[in-house]
Amino acid sequence: MEKLRSGRATCLILGLILGLGTLPAGAGRASAADEIVIGEIHPITGPATFYGLPESRGIQLAADRINKAGGVTLGGKSYQIRIATEDDQASPTTGVAALRKLVSADVRFIIGPLASGVAPALKPIIERNDKLTQLIDGTIADDMTNGKNIFRNQATASGYNVAVVKLFSARKYKSVAMMTDRFHAGFMNSQKTLAADLKGLGVTTASEDFYKLGDTDFSATLTNLRGRNVDVLLIRGYPAEGALITKQARQLGFSGQVVWEMVSPPSTVLKNIPAAEMEGVFNCIPLTTEDYVKLGDEKAKALDQAYRGRFNEGPGELTALSYDAVYIFKAAFEKAGSLDNAAVNKAMAALKVADIPELVTRYTPQPDGRLFASDGQVDLRGEVSVWRGEGWEPASLKD
């Protein structure tokens, strides 16, 4: 009997430990009356940490600033925002587990994910759950939003392509060779349209080649480029491979213009290629946190300063988007006057860019001034940057 009791006690303790272990950090207080929990799913560890961690930190920073300024006001009552962080390691299975963990802790508002592989895995779960509202601040894959309970304040791959088309139009390039990461859903899905848009400008697509993360030898493809004499080598993917392709192309004698289409923090770029070899390379993505700082944007400078003060390093390229996401949620809560998901979704869809003066990123308002189109997507267009010295800077296309 004694053994049985002690066995039951052990089971109870184990059960408690396991039960608590499945809750996100601090989720035990999720139902506290005066706080709103926002879950965030980003790669805090794993191969995409250098994107995900600055996003997560941007969210923390925004929540702290909102809380210090009095929090979220609903019906005359103030609520503090609490962030429940989950690490998806940029892996779909880990991402789904992270979402389920947040859902089981009754977290109903989600920011993220970053990875184009994770977002499609989360989408069907979130679409079916009317107690969830998602704001994507990372992936650029097309068709990830629905305008009902899934919104996105990041650009789409098609939004990136706007800058590519602008660059080709301004510089009158006549031919292009594309090298695309074949596992990047956003780039793969938009490639056909991009090629068609370029064709409309009279640009010939000389070749379309594909690679994957971790590939190291591109010599065969790049040798063929030399034979084709193309004006532009367009690389669409991630910076480690981008740097390697750029280096190998130069070594094999490619003398045309190299154009990147990828989020590529200078610190990461410089770990993979000397600055001199990057000089003059164009990049076609929406303006990043660093770009806004370089343009002298006061809100971006304040964010940059606060970030450096707290984390002892500069913000990441996507930090401003994640920072904005918290303010977008705050505005939606206050506009809805409730934490009911249906009301928040409706308010989110109706938000105007002018309703959120704290936004760092310069979103193009919809014709009626709203932030999101009816499909839940913001209008955020790529701009052309050029590598000068040790980093990217906004490019003047009249050079």
Partner: protein, 297 residues
């Protein structure tokens, strides 16, 4: 397209040399000790990261590479002692059994542990070792970088050095004897400890040399050894398991095939080419190009 053939051949030679350099250490350990050492990719990775860390702290690249080789050799011995020897000497495991499934699982465990340790120390962000030389040699027919030439030269030097050890020293004689018949070698009084230390030491050192040199060409990150070690196993099958000339020929064949498939076919079929040639070799000459057919009794 044929006018680009000399360049594509040079590309294939350069790529094949990288495969061969990784495969040499693997084939030595597998050929002598019958250990499918999946952790060899981590010797390669550690060679790259240690060189990177030392170069970043201001050390000359070649000195850093030498230090990395010494350190990784030591790590190789520790891996053998901790990961493989307990399995090989476990009750109920003969040498042959020990080289089977349990050895493979143990090797995978060792590989994952080393990757995780590297992740904790260096993080996951990809980086490249600053290249010790940056020149490009241009001929009328092809272009090749000085670093690629160095890899080809190092491969040749490593092969000659290992050949001299194996064929011109008593230790090499002991290693070859063990490779041919472990039980007979034991009966002849050959010290298995010495053979293991030498084999693992040379194998790990070759992995470190490959990591240091290729880390100056390719991005390095904790899981960077996974694909090269898989390709190295393909090289072993093509060249003949346990054969050093086979590792070199297999690496070069694989490099050439990949480049030709990507150059004259499509880049997305590059990996398919690897495994098509693997299946073809297994069907036509299962013992590999330089392997000897063995009769199971």
């Amino acid at each position: 397209m044929l006018e680009l053939l000399p360049q594509q051949l040079a590309n294939g030679l350069a790529l094949g040399s990288t495969y061969a350099l990784v495969a040499m250490g693997l084939t030595l350990i597998f050929g002598v000790l019958l250990i499918p050492n999946f952790a060899h990719g981590e010797f390669y990775m550690l060679g790259a990261f240690i060189t990177y860390a030392l170069v970043a702290s201001g050390l000359n690249f070649w000195l850093a590479m030498a230090a990395a080789v010494v350190l990784v050799t030591g790590i190789g011995w520790i891996v053998d002692r901790v990961v493989f020897q307990p399995i090989g000497s476990a009750p109920g495991h003969s040498a042959a059994q020990g080289s089977g499934l349990s050895m493979m699982i143990s090797a995978l465990a060792g590989s994952i542990i080393l990757q995780q340790v590297a992740t904790i120390i260096w993080g996951t962000e990809a980086r490249t070792i600053p290249a010790p030389m940056t020149g490009v040699i241009q001929t009328p027919y092809f272009t090749i970088t000085a670093l690629q030439l160095t890899v080809i030269g190092t491969l040749t030097a490593a092969w000659i050095a290992v050949w001299l050890v194996l064929h011109r020293s008593r230790l090499g004689l002991a290693i070859r004897a063990t490779s041919q018949n472990r039980d007979a070698a034991l009966l002849m009084g050959i010290s298995m400890t010495q053979v293991r230390l030498a084999t693992f030491g040379i194998g790990a050192a070759l992995g470190a040399v490959a990591g240091a040199l290729l880390g100056a060409t390719f991005p390095i990150y904790p899981s960077m050894g996974v694909t090269p070690v898989l390709k190295a196993f393909v090289v072993l099958v093509i060249g003949g398991i346990g054969s050093l000339p086979g590792a070199i020929a297999g690496g070069l064949v694989l490099g050439m095939v990949e480049v030709m498939v990507a150059g004259y076919g499509a880049s997305q079929f590059q990996d398919i080419g690897t495994f098509v040639i693997l299946v073809a070799v297994l069907l036509i000459r299962p013992q590999g190009l330089f392997g000897r057919a063995q009769v199971e009794r």
